[in-house]
Amino acid sequence: MSEAQEFKYIGQRTIRPDGFDKVTGRAQYGADLNLPGMIWGRTLRSPHAHARILAIDTSRAEAHPDVFAVVTFKDFGNVQSEKINAGEGAADMLDLARNCLADDKALYHGHAIAAVAARTERAADDALALIDVKYEVLPPVLNVEDAMKDDAPILHEDQFTQGYEETPSSPSNIATRVEMKIGDVEAGFAEADVVIEREFRTPTAHQGYIEPHACTARYDENGQSMIWCCTQGHFDVRTSTAKLLGLDLGRLKVIASEIGGGFGGKTVVYQEPVALALSRKAGRPVKMVMNRDEVFIATGPTSAARLKAKVGAKKDGTITAMQGWMAYEAGAFKGSPMMPGVMTMYTPYDCANLLVEGFDVVLNKSKVAAYRAPGAPQAEFAAEMVVSEVAEALGMDPIELRLKNAAKEGTQTIYGPKFKAVGLVECLEAARDSEHYKSAVPEGCGRGIASGFWFNIGGQSSVLINMNTDGTGTILEGSPDIGGSRASMQMMAAEVLQIEPSCLKPIVADTDSLPYSEGTGGSRVTFATGMAVIEAATNVVTQVRERAAAIWNVTAEQVDYADGVATNTAGEDKMTLAEVCEAAKKTGGQISGTGNINARGPGPGFAVHVCDVKVDKETGKVDVVRYTAIQDAGKAIHPSYVEGQYQGGAVQGIGWALNEEYIFNEDGVMENPGFLDYRIPLASDLPMIETVIVEVPNAFHPYGVRGVGESGIIPPLAAVGWAVGDAIDRKVTELPCSPPRVLSLIQSG
């Protein structure tokens, strides 16, 4: 894909096909399915951040008249340690099982211990109080500094740090240590005229989707078990649940409900295997819906991190060396997104000398889950703050410094390959040329700019397009639609089939109806599932030409297909797509096209944001007064939803930078598990979010598409952080810039 292509439907702003159901309240989400005979499940959670479980006595709960079943870890099958596909780190099936229901240890406040199914939700809640758990309370480990000490209380006696020449012989809370490098940083720093080094800290933050985790499960001994749930990947729910309960995949159907946000947090299972285990024991369908406080204490969040960044540059702005160090909190089980943190930290820069070291550290907090560009916002926050400080020290414009050192085609990345065409330079230029950046910083305000890089992924997608006899069709895809992707699928299929998008109905099919598809994540759906749609639709066109050829007694090569019409180039005949579909019964049966692919060649996504903030110097409250988000989409299939990704990512990042953080007491209990005290951005907190879609085509996609979902959350942390510092003439090193923290920075004078 090189020269610009002409499109008939792609690039338009169509009405999404699932829109009607979503504005009328008809769309069914995770908690919206009730089944005949259904009962309710609730979860007993650990009141301790770290404790040995000596005994669980469920007999009093089981004797409750409304209780049908109680389950504990023992109700899972014989779970084996086994690597599984779940998030960024090396996830393990046994860890997953022990996170769904604790085995011999409670590892965080809120850790699920047992679950009850009862006639009503209230009865189930009442019965939880009848479960007697004997704990031996252990000292909790609550930050990475403590967790990494040699004499720290150890969470897992069988965990030995991976990543050193020789694996240590004593267990450690450090699960993995990684080092990546290019060139020689010592030599690079020696060449520098300016070297800036700082330490940073970012908080535990939650994905904050509005819909709590919810599912309805029905066990069936004849192989018709079913789970309905809100998830980013129903095929992965099936894999995990089937493993935990000892079922064959073919005996469990998982239906993806509409999903009320995920941002990575709904890529792993929590309640689904528990609900099915309860249903198996109770002989009835079981529904489980988390409360908001459970969502906060027991799902998500993303890693809090400690970071160091050191950057050296010559007087002319050439960056000569970049060094980083980071320790990410994994929560109770290994698998923080430290690795992508290491890989992304300095990737927006073309620098010959790089060294980044990372640590994945377990401690007594809930196990982290993926969150939009997992691991990148923390690492790139540290990097971008220091790069901006280098620009300041050199007296250079921060965009000019970035342009001078920007990663571009041919740049060697720290994680391996050299870049093909990427759009960072174009994004930086668009930022520099924006009306926003050219305008003066308003009186009393500060301005920050920052770049962000995320890989984006490809992966497995399965698609089936079934044509109806009237020429309309159904697109079955396996990727839950979390932000309007059905519209993109419809447009891409329409582009290939050359018919109105509204003639095609996209459906998120259940696990019985399609081969395995990876979940919605990694900004992969419009890219990878879109490629599968293009393949399936192309497959339909091939068949249409063959069928028309059969009717006209010519070869398929003699049939042209354009504008929804097949034309016999050897004669006068024409047939519309509808006519070919209608005649399919005479030419070999109905027409359907498949696209079962493992998409390769995802295009890296760069973003650049510009932010102006106003700081109330009396209270420390920060208001974002103007914000511009610029990002390379490769090719925007549906520009409105691309802009929506930029704006949504920007605002999540603004929330992370300004207010969002878990507050723990000394026992490891989260003290703000609700939207009142864990404050995500409100409509009244924000200005309009201006967007610029840059399009530098991805060479590996037929239309040039890059993923757009994640990069936008990366720049805000440093764009906001730097702007706040600029407004108060201080250096921000810790997020969030909440009023008390900003006030104390101001007063630190």
Binding site: R13, T24, A683
Partner: protein
């Protein structure tokens, strides 16, 4: 505990139901009456996903008891627009792509309707403050505010 008998009006239709004294109006709507268009995001009045009107006043149905609906008029998302024709607000939300996951959308549409009934010509700032009780995590609110302002203009009979 004995259930209470409640007679109410929902979206103009007379409705009767039985509920526990502790059941919220949200519980009743979703679990007794199978009206699942109203969503639960927090159960504590912080997110607005469960917004409904009670005697014309915008409330979080998770903070209202089912028994409080007795003799009252309740308005939910199911009462806005019809099969034949969406309400202008709904149409504008679609045109402006003002939803991504869509779970906050019913609450936002109920709130926007209440806003525009109270104040047909809000400034952007007024709209932002009125809707501050409706959390959206996907959109960053930009397209929602555009949809609301456009709906207001259309409903006023503007261009």
């Amino acid at each position: 505990m004995a259930k209470s008998h409640v007679s109410t009006t929902i979206n103009g239709e007379a409705v009767e139901f039985l509920c526990e004294p502790g059941d919220t109006l949200l519980d009743v709507l979703r679990n007794e009456l199978q009206m699942t268009g109203t969503k639960e995001g927090c159960g504590s009045g912080d997110c607005g996903a469960c917004s409904v009107t009670l005697n014309g006043r915008l409330v979080c149905s998770c903070l209202v008891l089912g028994v409080e609906a007795d003799g009252a008029e309740v308005g939910t998302i199911e009462g806005i627009g019809s099969n034949d024709e969406l309400h202008v607000i709904q149409q504008k939300f679609l045109e402006h792509a003002a939803l991504q996951c869509g779970v906050c959308t019913p609450g936002l549409i109920v709130s926007t309707k209440a806003l525009l009934e109270e104040n047909p010509d809000p400034t952007e700032e007024e709209a932002r403050y009125y809707l501050a009780g409706n959390l959206c995590r996907c959109t960053g609110y930009d397209k929602i505010i555009r949809a609301v302002m456009d709906a207001a203009e259309t409903m006023r009979g503007g261009a």
